[in-house]
């Protein structure tokens, strides 16, 4: 057998020639699991009287929940309680530690605004407990009581989902595997079931609620694929539960409910979807539910929580981490930063230039106006002076004229500048 050594992806596929024996591995795993036993935590949510306890007892065919005694006095119940019941069930040597968490009081009050909150808090506290255990120094004993699936019981109204249903599912679908079931389906006749299911799925899809559905991947054989498809088409399951045995026409005893008008059989697929629910929950998809809780939901919660606490991701720990890629990334970022800085500085420069220009212009204008001002002042002064000169000029001229007259009258005599009022007198003698 020649096999090339290869790291990372791109492994060579090799078909075996002879029998080596590692195909025995699943059996070893199987034996180990049987020795250890399984753990499964199921939560049931729904209004009282929808048959939650009966359905659990019917699913596991044992009295996980004792029959409720009728109380003499009915106490008024306020708020939602969380109660838990555990049972160790064994079948074919396989031990299952089943925990069922019940939520009595959900939806039974007049005001149900916050009915979902205690339930969400309980689920998250279980995640927190597991997180704390994971972080312990000694991790040999980890108790896993995280909720693996929530069965949400819908009232068989025949119309669609109610406000309380949508509110609950929207708040919880990212934390649990949500499996909606239509409770007490024996009150829905024929077509009503189909219409009701279609409306529920329309509501769920519209609000983006994720519910748990069996999906097939590439490794499944066609039979499993077909089975999964059949089950998925019946979601949400319309179920009826019963612990009592009734007689059929041919005399056999089956679990069912006897009415004056007929007998409904729990395990008859024409009557209700109990068989599909059981198949999915217990026989085929239990491991997937646990896996989805551990890998998907829990990890998402953990990441959110740690980020919220302020932890920072250190990428150097990952083996797939590529240093060259990281460097290139950093360079790119750095270049981008530089470019940004440059742009900023250019912008600042432009701004400063603009400012300076503005200022200069302003001072130019000022000077100009001052220049004008001074010019006008000078102009005014000049005019004034001219005026004065003109005045003086004319005054002088008048005097000159009078002297000339005197000079003409007495020629040869020195002209005496006489005040002008004497002119007349002069003229008379």
């Amino acid at each position: 057998m020649r096999s090339a050594q290869n790291q990372g992806s791109g492994a060579i596929k090799k078909k075996m020639n002879g029998y080596v024996g590692f195909s025995n591995f699943p059996n070893q795993e199987h034996r180990r699991s049987i020795k250890r036993g399984f753990n499964f935590t199921l939560m049931v949510v729904g209004e009282s009287g929808l048959g939650k306890s009966t359905l659990i007892n019917t699913l596991f065919e044992s009295k996980v929940y004792p029959t409720k005694e009728t109380e003499v006095e009915t106490p008024a119940r306020t708020g939602v309680e969380i109660t838990s019941v555990s049972a160790d069930i064994q079948e074919n040597g396989v031990r299952l530690r089943l925990s069922v968490v019940d939520t009595p009081g959900f939806g039974d009050s007049i005001n149900n605004d916050e009915a979902w909150r205690p339930i969400l808090e309980n689920i998250e506290s279980r995640f927190d407990a597991y997180l704390a255990q994971e972080n312990r120094v000694n991790r040999s004993k980890i108790v896993d009581n995280r909720v693996n699936a929530v069965l949400y019981f819908i009232r068989p109204s025949g119309h669609g989902l109610r406000a309380i249903d949508i509110e609950f599912m929207k708040h919880l679908h990212t934390r649990v595997n949500l499996i909606p079931v239509i409770a007490r389906a024996d009150t829905l006749a024929g077509r009503e079931v189909e219409t009701f299911k279609a409306r529920i799925m329309a509501d769920i899809n519209f609000h983006g609620i994720q519910i748990f559905k069996p999906v097939s991947d590439q490794f499944d054989d066609p039979e499993t694929v077909a089975d999964n498809k059949a089950i998925a088409s019946k979601v949400p399951f319309a179920v009826v539960g019963s612990e009592k045995l009734v007689d059929r026409e041919d005399g056999t005893k089956v679990r069912g409910r006897r009415y004056p008008w007929g007998v409904i059989e729990v395990e008859n697929e024409a009557h209700n979807d109990f068989v599909s629910l059981r198949q999915m929950l217990l026989r085929t998809h239990m491991e997937e539910l646990r896996d989805a809780t551990d890998v998907g939901l829990y990890e998402a919660y953990r990441t959110q929580k740690l980020l919220a606490l302020g932890h920072v991701q250190d990428n150097g720990v990952f083996r797939e981490f590529n240093p060259r890629q990281q460097l290139e990334e950093e360079e790119r970022l750095h270049g981008a930063k530089m470019g940004k800085l440059e742009a900023e500085m250019a912008a600042v420069f432009r701004q400063k230039v603009q400012e300076k220009e503005g200022k200069l212009k302003q001072s130019e204008e000022e000077l100009h106006s001052r220049h004008q001002q001074m010019k006008s002042v000078l102009e005014k002064q000049r005019l004034e002076l001219e005026e004065k000169r003109a005045r003086i000029g004319t005054g002088m001229q008048q005097q000159n004229t009078s002297i000339d007259v005197v000079a003409a009258a007495h020629p040869g005599e020195p002209v005496q500048r006489m005040p002008s009022k004497d002119k007349k007198k002069r003229g008379f003698f």
């Binding site: 009287g49 119309h159 109610r162 929207k170």
Partner: protein
């Protein structure tokens, strides 16, 4: 034709007779008796189909497919009125049914009770105003609710807070008949157990549901009424299709595992309830509403200050003399009932009325 005897239940003897009680208070044979029923209950319990089955025709059409966008926001409660004219052997009933979609469907339902109470009181107020007019309108239409059919969800355990609160608040204003909607989810034993639980709750919380035995003077009717009270709350299954066989048409509801006959009394109480609502107890319900509930309300409304029990009876007697002899006798009968210990629920009604 004047009423011969002043008794209220004159013809309540057997199921065979469909004779109408001699209550000519609601004149106008042309229009028929005014009879108002209100249906209250959460969505999906079968109110609408109940009405359609009751009147044997599609009074309320099925709603269009609900919009997923609005599914998470419940519609507020509203009052839808439907008028049905029913006629049988020359007697007409002008039936008005008020449906209340949206009751109890939201996340927070505390305001629903007030709305209902306001509505019922508004009808009383209208009549009060009309009665006090100088010139009364002869063709006045009475909108007081004569009976409220309340649909309980078939939980199998006991009454829920919503149920208890509703009956407690409205019992002093209207006759409440509790009914189990979608009763086809119960086997016979479960139904009996649930009935016992509900009755136990009614007694424990002193809930004022309609007491069929409120009039103790008619002994024949009393026996029948006691039997009827054993069926409270009535189990109701509603009809999907009508199937014709050689005996006539049979109303059924079909399942893959069997078929229910709606009118079969062994299978559900629908036939009995229909008989009570539309046949035997119309007069009882109307009379009780008018003589007891409305008068109580009126007294409370007109009195300023405390509740003087003796004063109130005298006032009423004086007024009744003006209106008619028969009414006065009814009043004294009612007072007599109040004084005796029989009919505990009636006393309870008075108590709850005065305790507010």
């Amino acid at each position: 034709m004047a009423p011969s005897a002043p008794s209220i239940n004159s013809t309540m003897s057997s199921r065979m007779a469909t004779a109408r009680p001699s209550s000519y208070r609601h004149k106008s044979e042309k229009r028929g008796m005014t009879y108002n029923i209100m249906l209250v209950g959460q969505a999906g319990l079968g109110r609408r189909t109940f009405l359609n089955t009751l009147c044997e025709r599609a009074v309320i059409a099925s709603p269009e497919a609900p919009n997923p966008e609005t599914a998470n926001v419940a519609d507020p409660m509203k009052f839808d009125t439907y008028e049905v004219a029913m006629e049988e052997e020359g007697t007409r009933i002008s039936l008005t049914v008020i449906d209340t979609p949206g009751f109890g469907d939201g996340l927070d339902n505390t305001s629903c009770f007030k709305q209902l109470q306001d509505y019922i009181e508004a009808q009383f107020d209208e009549v009060l105003v009309e009665e006090s007019r100088v010139k009364r309108n002869r063709r006045y239409r009475d909108h007081r609710i004569h009976v409220l059919v309340y649909f309980i969800a078939p939980t199998g355990h006991s009454l829920r807070e919503l149920d208890i609160e509703l009956i407690r608040r409205l019992g002093e204003y209207v006759n409440i008949i509790p009914v189990i909607g979608r009763a086809d989810s119960f086997t016979v034993e479960e139904l009996d157990a649930f009935r016992a639980n509900v009755m136990r709750d009614i007694v424990y919380y002193k809930l004022p549901v309609y007491n069929f035995c409120w009039d103790e003077t008619d002994s024949e009717a009393l026996v029948e009424n006691r039997e009827i009270m054993d069926h409270i709350p009535f189990s109701v299954v509603t009809c999907d299709e009508v199937f014709d066989n050689e005996y006539g048409s049979v109303r059924i509801r079909r399942y893959p595992w069997g078929t229910i006959e709606i009118d079969d009394e062994a299978q559900c109480d629908f036939a009995l309830l229909r008989y009570i609502l539309l046949n035997s107890h119309i007069a009882d319900l109307i009379n009780y509403t008018e003589d007891m509930l409305y008068e109580n309300y009126r007294t409370k409304k007109l009195e300023v200050g405390g509740y003087g029990e003796n004063d109130e009876e005298e006032d009423d007697d004086e007024e009744e003399q003006a209106l008619g002899a028969s009414k006065k006798q009814d009043k004294s009968k009612a007072a007599a009932i109040a004084d005796t210990d029989g009919g505990g629920d009636v006393l309870g009604k008075f108590d709850s009325g005065f305790d507010n």
